[in-house]
Amino acid sequence: MAATDKLQHPDVTPEMIREIDDIIESQKNAPGAVIPVLRMSQDVVGYLPVEVIDYISAGLNIPSSDVYGVATFYSLFSLTPKGRHRIRACLGTACYVKGIKEVMGRISKEFDLEVGGTTEDRRFSLEAVRCLGACGLAPVVVVDQDTYGGISADQVSGILEKYE
């Protein structure tokens, strides 16, 4: 890779760059590699800063407008930093019928946090996801890897308290 492609960003450590290099190398020759590379790189960094997108496009030898187009199309990819804890509220129909709107309203109010946003101290980010496929537990909120089913707005602060 050319030296001019060297990636510089405060959130991206040299260790992360090495991992991204490995990802690019392993996927380089696979057809349709852009989405897997973006996904795995996002897992490494936590989100996709524009510098990372440019770096990937150079590595895969694909115009950065194309890579950028893919990164902005899919809801999985985030171009802005995420909080330390990721709150995913299910906006599936069952959850909606059972009151996820009220639950999300409470989260927004208590933490001054909009959907798609991150709290100022980067403690939480809130996402609305479309159906987690666990409709039996509706309404469902997933914090990091922990799933909370059948919750009500009143329980929100109790649950989130645990995540520092």
């Binding site: 057809p31 349709g32 590699a33 852009v34 989405i35 897997p36 973006l38 996904r39 194309d66 187009g69 893919v70 199309f73 899919y74 809801s75 999985l76 990819f77 906006l91 599936g92 129909t93 069952a94 959850c95 909606y96 019928v97 059972k98 009151g99 009220e102 309203g105 409470r106 109010k109 996801v129 479309r130 159906c131 987690l132 496929g133 666990a134 409709c135 039996g136 537990l137 509706a138 469902v140 799933t147 909370y148 089913g149 009500s152 707005a153 009143d154």
Partner: protein
């Protein structure tokens, strides 16, 4: 292998994992060891059982005793009382919400009793991570027959005879689709499995992938032989990590056993499968969009023809089938098309898996013969509406489906009949709504989904759905004006007739069906500034009706801001200054005293 006296089939699906099946599993293992039963009693983690709301669930075999809502603390009692002394534990059994009876055996529970389990035939019966257990249940036998005894024409003929139609939504005849791809001339062809289940409220694909991943692989291999494809991809949602993990394992095992790869079973036919993880775009469930996405581009649909059977992935002939469709294929090869076609209606054969959720007692996945009535599904299997509330509507077919009112509950479930009453079969989401659901709000909810998920390629879908959403928001915020309802109808018709793909063509359905059956609610919102279901916050007054108030104080306890004033034996009142309109008091009140 040691012979175990009892097999404990513990559900390890996503729903049960979330409600604590792992901690129960650990406690159970420890307790069995404690009592020296670890050789006699075997715990097997299965895929999704379907009865998710009561998770974690466990079936004790061979007795057929069904336990529900198990907690780690229950393990000691279960082991001691049931597995050691032979006295099953009553309090952990299912209690029928209607008859209040305790039911010990799985097959007497109405939720299971009315089902006909074909596509999900292995759920809860095998360890999804064991290929041997799948084979022991006739697994890969249908494939073996197709590969060694049948020609491409024979396979397609059986599928046509079975009457199997695509279970992903549109219901296109599977055999016809395969036939087109078989005729296409090309050196390379592909078989794709659509596991990008995006419909909110439907989770049958996830369940099948988690409980029986080999059934999907078997279906893909048979499809590949039918059209002479050499490579397959499973396009699976990233949101389904457990499904991806089990699929990967299944592919690896199948390769080890020589059931994937070159020269399968010495038949000279070779085929391999890889998983492709989606990145979260509802439109990628549309076949041409899905193919673009695998190619590493934005998942946008393209006009057809050319159809994917001639020009699909990388412009090569491609067949795309849904998970549930493929899960049926192996058994059809084994038992014949006639066997499959013996169940169902004139136009819709076999069984269909539905995900029943919303305001209903028994939430979960059910597989029923085509032609069953909605009423039977909701009341006999689903156990009716909880909290003594009234049924209002049932929403079928996901965001592009429609709401069906009570008067059509006897409609048989079949592709054509459902369409006649204004909904679609879709992937099989059934969401039951009680009287507290506002239909304007529901239409707004679906339109919010669609306008967010529209890929934006064509204007009617991108701009039209946004305008519809704006009008619906206006109406539910109490700013509706005369003419709004008519504009909604006009916009809907234009979007329907001028959009490129299925997403846009069906996008206005939630609006049209609610306008059709619940027009009075729209009128109440627009002309009377009233929400009959009391769901639209802007139209609520938040006052207590002293005549209806039973002075119980539940609203007082629920209020997070201290806006509710209440003392014992006095009716409550609400301080408008402090009220944040969070609905907590409203939801807490059992007597409809808050307006």
């Amino acid at each position: 292998m040691d012979q175990a006296r009892l097999h404990l089939m513990l559900c390890g699906g996503t729903g049960c994992h979330a409600s604590g099946s792992k901690s129960f599993h650990e406690a159970l293992d420890a307790e069995l060891k404690n009592q020296g039963l670890e050789k006699e009693v075997r715990v097997i983690e299965t895929g999704c059982n379907g009865f998710c709301a009561l998770g974690p669930v466990m079936l004790v075999q061979p007795e057929g005793i069904f336990y529900q809502q198990l907690k780690a603390d229950d393990a000691a009692e279960l082991v001691e009382s049931h597995f050691l002394k032979g006295r099953p534990v009553q309090r952990l059994m299912y209690r029928d919400p209607v008859s209040k009876k305790t039911m010990a055996h799985m097959d007497e529970i109405p939720f299971f009793a009315h089902q006909m389990i074909w596509a999900m035939r292995n759920k809860g019966l095998i360890d999804p991570e064991s290929i041997d257990e799948y084979i022991a249940r006739d697994g890969y036998f249908g494939m073996a027959k197709a590969l060694t005894e049948m020609s491409s024409e024979d396979i397609i003929g059986e599928i046509k005879a079975s009457g199997l139609r695509g279970r992903g939504g549109a219901g296109f005849p599977t055999g016809v689709k395969w036939g087109f791809a078989a005729q296409a001339k090309s050196d390379v062809k592909y078989v794709l499995c659509n596991a990008d289940e995006g419909d909110p409220g439907a989770f049958m694909d996830r369940s099948i992938l988690e409980a029986d991943p080999h059934a999907v692989l078997e279906g893909m291999i048979i499809a590949a032989k039918a059209i002479n494809a050499t490579q397959g991809y499973i396009y699976c949602r990233t949101e389904y990590p457990l499904a991806i993990q089990r699929l990967s394992l299944a592919i690896e095992k199948a390769r080890d056993y020589g059931l994937l790869g070159e020269d399968i079973l010495g038949s000279g036919f070779g085929f391999d499968v890889d998983i492709y993880q989606g990145a979260g775009a509802f439109v990628c469930g549309e076949e041409t969009a899905l193919m673009r996405s695998i190619e590493g581009r934005r998942g946008m649909p393209r006009p057809r023809p050319p159809f994917p059977a001639n020009k699909g992935l990388w412009d090569k002939p491609t067949v795309l089938n849904n998970v549930e469709t493929l899960a049926n294929v192996g058994q059809i090869m084994l038992n014949g098309g006639q066997w499959y076609a013996s169940v169902g209606t004139e136009s819709s054969k076999g069984t269909k898996v539905f995900a029943i959720s919303g305001d209903i007692n028994n939430i979960g996945l059910v597989e029923v013969p085509m032609g069953i009535s909605l009423r039977k599904m909701i009341y006999d299997i689903g156990g009716g509406i909880p909290n003594k509330r009234k049924f209002k509507a049932v929403q079928l077919g996901g965001p592009s489906g429609g709401c069906i009112p009570e008067k059509y509950l006897d409609t048989p479930v079949d592709y054509e009949e459902i369409a006649k009453v204004g909904a679609i079969m879709g992937s099989g989401g059934v969401i039951v709504m009680d009287e507290k659901t506002c239909m304007v709000d529901m239409a707004r909810f679906f339109m919010d989904f669609i306008q967010e998920e529209s890929c934006g390629k064509c204007t009617p879908c991108r701009e039209g759905t946004r305008r519809i959403l704006e009008i619906l928001e206006k109406i539910s915020e109490g700013r509706g004006e005369p003419g709004d309802i008519e504009t909604l109808e006009e916009l809907s018709e234009v979007i329907k007739s001028s959009s490129l793909c299925g997403l846009g063509q069906t996008a206005p359905n939630p609006v049209l069906s609610t306008l059709n059956y619940f027009r009075d609610e729209y009128y109440a919102h627009v002309y009377e500034k009233r929400c009959p279901a009391k769901r639209c916050v802007a139209l609520l007054k938040f006052t207590v009706d002293p005549d209806k108030c039973k002075k119980c104080g539940l609203c007082f306890k629920a209020c997070p801001t201290g806006a509710v004033q209440w003392e014992k034996k006095q009716p409550a009142s609400i301080d408008k200054e402090k009220c944040i309109q969070c609905m907590a008091c409203y939801d807490a009140c059992r007597f409809d005293a808050i307006e």
